[in-house]
Amino acid sequence: MDGFLNAIVLLANFALVPGAAYGSQLALGALGVTLIFAVLRFSNFAHGETMSFGAMITIFATWALQSWGVSIAPLPTGLLALPIGIIVTVAVVLASDKFVYAYYREKRSDQVIFLIASIGVMFVMAGLIRFIIGPDDQIFADGARFVFSVRDFRAVTGLEEGLALKTTQLVTLVTAIVCVVALFLFLGKTRTGKSMRAYADNEDLATLSGIDAGRVVRIAWILSATLAVIAGVLYGLDKSYKPFVFQELLLPIFAAAIVGGLGSPVGAIVGGYIIAFAEVLVTYAYKRFLGHLVPPDWMPDGLAQLMGTEYKFAVAFVILVLTLLIRPTGLFNKRAA
């Protein structure tokens, strides 16, 4: 029995808890992508840079707060700085809509044109980020490091294996839950939220019903940018802020949004966790896990790892391709894509 418990705790510590945190970050990112797709009907390739940009502004705000001695320990100061990052990023994203996308919306351009325009926006944002904060890593997590550490856990349970919960992981999970609940209340209960869903469902009929398309589009950008900043900051707090890493996150985020069904908020969340757990569980080395469960002479020779960590993108990609081949509309999309 102890062996079983130890195995579960081990898996939780190295795969399930980090996977849940990563999944939350992906889900928030995918929500931003899916909202823009639902309302503006294009895949926003600048979303990764939006996350990075928001995290960067939040880092500057964090540094400012830290220099003034403001702290909300044990929570990271970054949380306090988050609203500033959101406000600035929302302003930038709304400007990008006004100066770039609005024109093509007016012209009713093909979605590919929007996609190419988003590449232009991506370049501008990537350049600004590299120019302002530089290409180096930044660590801005402060406050308590652990909610409980491996040693605490062992002392309490008396198990051989330990389980740690980092403050950033708990913050990620709680923030993600708060965001998702707030978003669904907004979309499901408020007049504005419903008008947004109506516009996503049937643009012409929404306009006919007196729903202001410009307002819906603005709100979609505001929500998308807010979620992007939160996702970016949580990822940065949890790992560390690398300006370039968000470009790489684009693939798992898109995969999450497509697996769930582009345009479906529920799908984006489920997709985020599917991708995250698949990545973590496929690249986890099960050697020690099996050690608790099977007799020594049954043990496999190697690490018992299905795939090297360096190929975690391949996991996201394979899931993406399988989705596109088997069910291109995704899990939660009733409409034909």
Binding site: R197, A198, D201, N202, L205, S209, G210, K334, R335
Partner: protein, 234 residues
């Protein structure tokens, strides 16, 4: 003068006018039906009345007020309501939410109107929590009409409401439309199923080449041998 008067409408999408001086009228509590062969400009006439295409000539008045230069949303505020032929519901939203979106421009309490709609279409009350996209074709059309009624319009316009539904459902839909007219709303309808539509029509317009070919009560048009031979297939 009639409640709705759309007089001498001229216009179209490109350089060529589809409407070449056609006139349509409707009164409260009445059902006016536009029929005619394909390409006669039936739907175009209705879209022109709703302001979805700009006219080169003619005028549109509702209850004496001139609406000719207004945008569709302004016309909605002035009492018009329009049910498109296709894509006329919000498929992923529940029936109730569809009705709420119909009332989007209203800032007052619209729960009484919603009750009236549910009274007119009892099946919608039953399925109020179900996404509109999951309903049958006939029920979806009822949602579409119900959505359009949420603004408490004085003129309801329907673009081929029975397209693609079975004959039984069509009869049921026409019964509902008669019920709507009885509440004192003027109804203007474009129909492909000319015979059945003229049967319920107080006023019938037969359009041809963007012009009025025949105008009379529905009954009289059905009895007119010329109309029967040329447009109703004998």
């Amino acid at each position: 003068m009639s409640f709705l008067v759309a007089r001498d409408m001229r216009g179209g999408y490109g350089a060529e006018d589809i409407l070449q001086g056609c006139t349509v009228e409707a009164d409260r509590g009445e059902i006016a039906v536009i029929v005619g062969p394909n390409g006669a400009g039936k739907s175009t006439a209705m879209k022109a009345i709703f302001g979805m295409l700009s006219l080169r000539g003619g005028a549109i008045t509702l209850d004496g007020a001139d609406l000719t230069r207004m945008k569709p949303t302004e016309r909605v505020k002035n009492g018009m309501s329009f049910v498109p032929q296709v894509k006329n519901v919000f498929p992923s939203m529940s029936v109730e939410e569809n009705l709420e979106m119909g009332a989007f421009i209203r800032r007052d309490d619209y729960s009484a109107t919603m009750d009236e709609v549910y009274a007119l279409f009892p099946v919608l009350a039953e399925k109020r929590r179900q996404p509109a996209g999951e309903l049958s074709g006939g029920q979806r059309q009822q949602v579409a009409v119900g959505r359009a009624l949420m603004t408490k319009p004085s003129l309801l316009m329907l673009d081929e409401p029975t397209a693609g539904v079975s004959p039984i459902v069509m009869d049921e839909l026409f019964d509902r439309i008669i019920d709507v007219a009885k509440t004192g709303i003027a109804i203007l309808m474009v129909e492909q199923n000319a015979k059945q539509a003229l049967e319920i029509a107080t006023r019938g317009y037969v359009l041809q080449h963007g012009k009025n070919a025949h105008t009379d009560t529905g009954e009289a048009l059905l009895a007119d041998p010329v109309v029967r031979r040329t447009f109703l297939g004998g």
